[in-house]
Amino acid sequence: MDLNALIACLASSACLVTQTTSGLIIGMLLFLVAVGLTLIFGVLKVVNFSHGAFYMFGAYFAMTTYQITGSFAAAMLCGAAGTAILGLIFERVFMSRVYGADVLMQLLVCYAFVLIFDDVVRMVWGPEFKSMGMPTAFQVMPLFIAGGVVPPYYLLLIGVALVAAIVLGAGLSRTRIGKVVRAAAHNPSMTSALGINTGLIYGGVFALGGMLAGLAGALAAPVRSLTPGMGFSVLIESFIVTVIGGMGSILGALIGALLIGLIRSFGSLGFPLFTEGLMYLFMVIVLVSRPTGLFGKEVA
C-alpha cells in the first residue's frame, strides 16, 4: 500500500488531470465492450461470454486493413463492420438455436466459440503477438491541460466512445427502431404477435453489440499488442462493468466503466499490488448491497 502517493496525487492538479484522463481512457474503451454485452443481455437475455472475441477480431481486422490500405479510417471501419457481420452470423446460425434452452446451454455455446475463435485467430494470424502501430497523424506531442498530460489520440478515443454512448442512448429512447427493440426486450412474444420480426431484431442487436466491441478493438489496436486470447481480460473487466452498472442498462455500463477506469488509475497509485483485487472487491460490495447493480431494474 502506498496511500501517501494517492493523497499527494489528489492534492496536485497536474496529477489529478492526468490520472483522471487515464481513468477515462481505460473506462471508455471498456464501455464500448461492456455496452454491447449489456445491450445483448437486455434484449436477448443472453450473457454473451464470447464478447471478448469480437473485440479481438475488431483489432485484427483493423490491423490487416491498415497494413493493406494504410488508412486509419478504413481500418476503424473494417474493424467495426467486420465484427458486425460476424455477430450477425454468430447469432443467426448458432445462438438463435439455444434461446429457449437453459442459460447454461447458452453459456456453453459461447464458451465453445471462445475456444474456436482463439484458435482461428492463431491459425490465420499466427501465435506471435502483433502491433498495428500508431498512424503518423497521431504521432505528435501530447497536450498539456492544467498541468496534466493528455495525448491527442486518446481525446479521439474518448470522443468516439462518447458519441457512441449518446447515439445509442438517444436511438433507443427516441427512435421508432429503439421503441421496437425495447418492446422486444420487454415482451418478445407480444412484439412478434404484432407482426414484428423479432429474429431480425435479435440479429441486429447482436450485430450492433459485436460492432461496438469490434470498434473498441480497432481503436485499441494502435496502442495494445494483438494476440490470440487478447479478448479475455477485456471480457472479464467488462463483465465487472455490466454487473456493477446493472445488466441491461446503458447508463449503468457508462458509469460502471468510468468507475472501473478511475479505480484502476487511482488504485495503481494507492494500492499498486492489489489494483485488480480492488475491482473485484468493489463488485462484491455493489452486488451485495444492490444485487441488480447500480442502474439495473428488477425485471432484468
Binding site: 481513468g23 481505460i26 474503451l29 495494445r224 499488442s225
Partner: protein
C-alpha cells in the same frame, strides 16, 4: 491413450502385447538397420497468449535435433521429439510430463514451460527420476535454492540474477556518467518481474549508491492497458525508468508510453527489449532504449552466431527468440554429454553433463558451461546496449563480465541462505 484406460479394452492391449512380441522377434534385423529411437518429451505452451514461447522453442529444438540425428543421434540412437501443449497450466504441465514418461516412453525431458509450470515439471522429475532440462524458466531459485535441487534436473536458460548483476552494473555506469539519481520501476507483478526488478535495484544501488527509487508500478501480467502506470511514472518525474516487461506486454507499454512522449523525458532501461519478438513488432521503436541482449544474431558477433540465426530464419521465416537459443542449447548439451558418456542413458548423460563445457554460438567466448554445483548454464552471452529502430537493432553491446557475475552471485546466494 484409451488402450490402458479401461478394463474393457484389455483385449486390445493383449493384441498390442502380441505385436510387441513380434517386434522383439524381428528386433535383431531392425537393430542392424537402425537403433531404436530415443524419445525426448517436451511439455511446453503452444496455445494461448504465450504460444510463441512454445513455437519458437519447438522450432529451435527441431532444428538442432535434425543436426544431431544427421551425425548419429545420441550414442547411435536418433532422437525423436514428443512435443505437447500444456496450455500454460501447471497441473496440465505435470500431467503431460508424467504421461510423456509413463505412457509414451520418453527417456528424457526437455521442460520448456514458463514460470509455475517449470516448478510443476520439476516435481515430476523429482518423483520419476528422469533427466530433465529446464529451458525457459529464468527464476533464480529453481536451481539456486538447494531445497529445489535434484541431481537429474538441469537448466539451460538464463538465470535472473545473472541478468540483474550485469544490468545493475551497466545501468550504474550510465547513471554515474549522466547523473541519473531518481529512478522509477515498472515491472509485471509476478515472480519473475518482482525478483528481477528487486535484484536489478540491489545491484544498481551497489554500484551507484546515490541512486534513489522514487516510484514503483506493478501492472498485472498480460494487462492490456498500461495507461495508468505510464501516467504514474510521468507524475513521479524520474530521470530513469527500469522495466522487465516482455513480449506483447512490452510492446503495448512502448506504444502507450510513446503517445505520452515518455521516452523523451527519461532514460529507459528495458532488459527484455533486445529480442526479435519485440524489436521487429514495435512499429515506432524509440531510439536509445537500453536493453540486455535476449537473442540477437549480432551478439556475440561471431560467424557461428550469425549463421545460426540465419539458418533458423531460413527454415522458419522469422528470427529466433530468446527461448530459441535456450532450447537449442539443451539439445547441443545433450548431444555432447551423450558423446562424452558414450551412452544414451539419462543417468550417464546427467553425470557427463555436470561441469561440461561445450562449443556454442551463444557463449561469451564461444563456449557455454553447465556448472556442476547448481546445474545451471553459465558463460552464455550477456550484455547491454542501446537500440536503434532498424537492423541490427542493437549496434553495440557492452559485454558483462562473468568473473564479476560469479563473485556477486556467490554473495547473493549467501545472503539468501542458499549456500
Amino acid at each position: 491413450m484409451t488402450r490402458t484406460r479401461k478394463p474393457g479394452i484389455s483385449r486390445r492391449s493383449s493384441l498390442a502385447l502380441m505385436g510387441a512380441g513380434l517386434a522383439t522377434l524381428a528386433a535383431p534385423w531392425a537393430a542392424r538397420a537402425q537403433a531404436k529411437a530415443i524419445k525426448v518429451g517436451m511439455p511446453t505452451i503452444l496455445s494461448g497468449r504465450v504460444a510463441q514461447l512454445g513455437t519458437s522453442s519447438r522450432n529451435a529444438v527441431l532444428l538442432e535435433v535434425e543436426r544431431v540425428n544427421a551425425t548419429g543421434g545420441l550414442a547411435g540412437r536418433p532422437i525423436e521429439m514428443v512435443i505437447r501443449d500444456s496450455k500454460g497450466q501447471p497441473q496440465e504441465a505435470a500431467r503431460v510430463a508424467r504421461e510423456l514418461v509413463n505412457t509414451d516412453g520418453c527417456e528424457l525431458l526437455i521442460d520448456a514451460e514458463a514460470s509455475s509450470g517449470a516448478f510443476a515439471v520439476h516435481e515430476v522429475a523429482r518423483d520419476l527420476g528422469v533427466l530433465c532440462i529446464h529451458t525457459n524458466s529464468e527464476t533464480s531459485s529453481l536451481t539456486a535454492d538447494p531445497k529445489q535441487r535434484i541431481p537429474n534436473a538441469f537448466r539451460t536458460a538464463r538465470q535472473g540474477v545473472h541478468d540483474s548483476i550485469v544490468g545493475g552494473s551497466y545501468a550504474a555506469s550510465i547513471a554515474k556518467a549522466k547523473g541519473l539519481k531518481k529512478w522509477a520501476t515498472c515491472s509485471p507483478d509476478y515472480a519473475y518481474g518482482r525478483d528481477t526488478t528487486g535484484e536489478f535495484v540491489l545491484y544498481l544501488k551497489r554500484f551507484a549508491p546515490d541512486v534513489e527509487i522514487i516510484s514503483e508500478s506493478w501492472p498485472k501480467l498480460f494487462q492490456p492497458d498500461y495507461t495508468e502506470v505510464v501516467t504514474k511514472v510521468l507524475q513521479a518525474r524520474p530521470q530513469a525508468l527500469y522495466t522487465c516487461l516482455w513480449g506483447g506486454d512490452l510492446t503495448s507499454y512502448i506504444d502507450q508510453a510513446n503517445i505520452y512522449a515518455l521516452f523523451g523525458q527519461m532514460e529507459v532501461f528495458a532488459v527484455n527489449m533486445a529480442d526479435y519478438t519485440a524489436l521487429t513488432v514495435v512499429k515506432n521503436l524509440p531510439k536509445g532504449i537500453h536493453s540486455g541482449n535476449r537473442y540477437i544474431k549480432t551478439y556475440p558477433s561471431t560467424p557461428e552466431n550469425a549463421a545460426w540465426g540465419d539458418a533458423y530464419k531460413a527454415k522458419y521465416g522469422e528470427y529466433p527468440t530468446n527461448w530459441s537459443w535456450e532450447n537449442a542449447t539443451a539439445i547441443m548439451l545433450l548431444a555432447e554429454a551423450s558423446k562424452k558418456a558414450n551412452s544414451a542413458d539419462g543417468k550417464k548423460i546427467a553425470e557427463a553433463m555436470r561441469g561440461l563445457t561445450i562449443k556454442s554460438p551463444f557463449g561469451t567466448d564461444g563456449t557455454v558451461t553447465m556448472r556442476a554445483d547448481d546445474q545451471t548454464l553459465v558463460g552464455y552471452a550477456i550484455g547491454w546496449g542501446t537500440t536503434i529502430p532498424q537492423e541490427p537493432y542493437v549496434p553495440e553491446v557492452k559485454p558483462g563480465d562473468w568473473k564479476t557475475i560469479f563473485e556477486l552471485e556467490a554473495e547473493w546466494k549467501k545472503s539468501n541462505g542458499y549456500s
